[in-house]
């Protein structure tokens, strides 16, 4: 009976499962950069993804990490929404609109000592429909991984939000972007 229980437990532990990435929370530094750059409000437009089957999730060993917002493009949009809203610069009624396209979403927890991830996106600001800013930003992250999946997978899951914060930080600290939404 005990042996059977152990076999069932092992099967449960090693079978593939789906985990949600941690929800985004704004970075005070990003909010501060937005506040200091001005007070005019902007609208948040579409955020899309160039990746195929992007909502299927990111493979983390035997697990699959999915976005808590339905897709990783929606995760990026939520990140921008939170930063702009916390800084008091988000509105639904402005001629300035920020949009984006996720072009890279790589996250690798297969290493037994180091995990690494990279995110990239093209961000566009339009005023009255005309582009006034378009630039690609990329962020990379490495973290200490582990041999055991029980440790490595949750650790990787916790790093995704930090990587997204880094990507958004690249945008919100770009003087050309801050000028475009001034």
């Amino acid at each position: 009976m005990v042996a059977r229980l152990i076999v069932v437990l092992c099967t449960l532990m090693i079978s593939a499962c789906s985990i949600k990435a941690n929800e985004y929370s704004f970075s005070p530094e990003n909010v501060q950069a937005l506040r200091e750059a001005g007070s005019s409000k902007v609208r948040l437009g579409a955020v899309t993804s160039q990746m195929k089957d992007e909502s299927a999730g990111i493979h983390l060993r035997a697990a699959s990490m999915v976005s808590p917002y339905g897709s990783y493009a929606a995760y990026l949009k939520e990140a921008l929404r939170q930063e702009l809203e916390e800084a008091g610069r988000l509105t639904i009624d402005s001629d300035a609109e920020i949009s984006g396209t996720l072009t890279k979403n790589e996250f690798d927890a297969s290493g037994i000592s180091v995990g690494e991830g990279a995110l990239a996106a093209v961000f566009t600001v339009r005023r009255g429909g005309k582009p006034v800013y378009e630039r690609i930003h990329e962020a990379k992250i490495t973290w200490e991984s582990a041999f055991s999946g029980a440790v490595a997978i949750p650790r990787a899951v916790g790093e995704y939000r930090k990587l997204m914060q880094k990507l958004v930080q690249q945008l919100l600290h770009d003087p050309a972007f801050l000028e475009a939404i001034r």
């Binding site: 970075s27 501060q32 916390e86 055991s148 029980a150 440790v151 949750p154």
Partner: protein
């Protein structure tokens, strides 16, 4: 056939090797919807600073979980947005401050008070069958200093995660910690709001 009967034993040994006394990373960041943004005229019209030393931001602490395992997390990094939201709900403007002793800079930037939190946590599990903590407490001891670095106010608040069904904890391993963080931040906001010194 004897090898067949050894498989469960081997698996059991493997299980112990993989899971034995692990430290499992969790996140204790509060759900910010539990700390709703307060906008409007009731805010104190002052610019204040939030100081979290750089080494504390990276600090990873380890506390007990269940079944002999531990959990590890970054309390300062996880609570930073919540602390910022808490102060933003009381004061008209909040900025991050690197050095609370740089009086000249604080005066130049118009910063009236600097808040410095010290966070301590405890965790445990009432269930020996799984590692995520069922009980969690977060204590925030916060001091406010003026532009001359003199302490003008201090308070310590504690929050716990409450009684959470195991089924909810299994969906979010850090849930007890996340709820404890939110509760302690709500208490901190009440304490700061009630302190008359900030309204002078």
């Amino acid at each position: 056939m004897t090898w067949f009967f050894r498989v469960p034993r081997l698996l059991a040994v493997g299980l112990v090797l993989v899971c034995g006394a692990c430290s499992h990373p969790i996140v204790i960041a509060p759900d910010l919807s539990q700390l709703p943004r307060q906008d409007g005229a009731s805010k104190v019209d002052k610019k204040v600073g939030l100081h979290i030393p750089r080494d504390k931001r990276e600090l990873r602490v380890k506390t007990p979980g269940g079944g002999g395992d531990n959990v590890d997390y970054t309390p300062y990094a996880d609570l930073e947005p919540g602390l910022y939201r808490t102060l933003s709900n009381v004061f008209s403007l909040v900025v991050m401050v690197d050095d609370p002793h740089n009086s000249e800079r604080l005066k130049m930037d118009g910063i009236t008070y600097v808040f410095t939190p010290a966070i301590t946590t405890t965790s445990s599990s009432r269930n020996i069958m799984f590692w995520p903590p069922t009980d969690f407490s977060v204590t925030i001891a916060c001091t406010a200093t003026d532009s001359g670095a003199s302490v003008v106010w201090s308070s310590s608040v504690a929050g716990d995660g409450g009684l959470i069904p195991v089924s909810d904890i299994l969906k979010d391993f850090g849930l007890a910690g996340r709820r404890a963080s939110a509760n302690s931040l709500l208490r901190l906001e009440s304490e700061i709001r009630a302190a008359s010194i900030f309204r002078k």
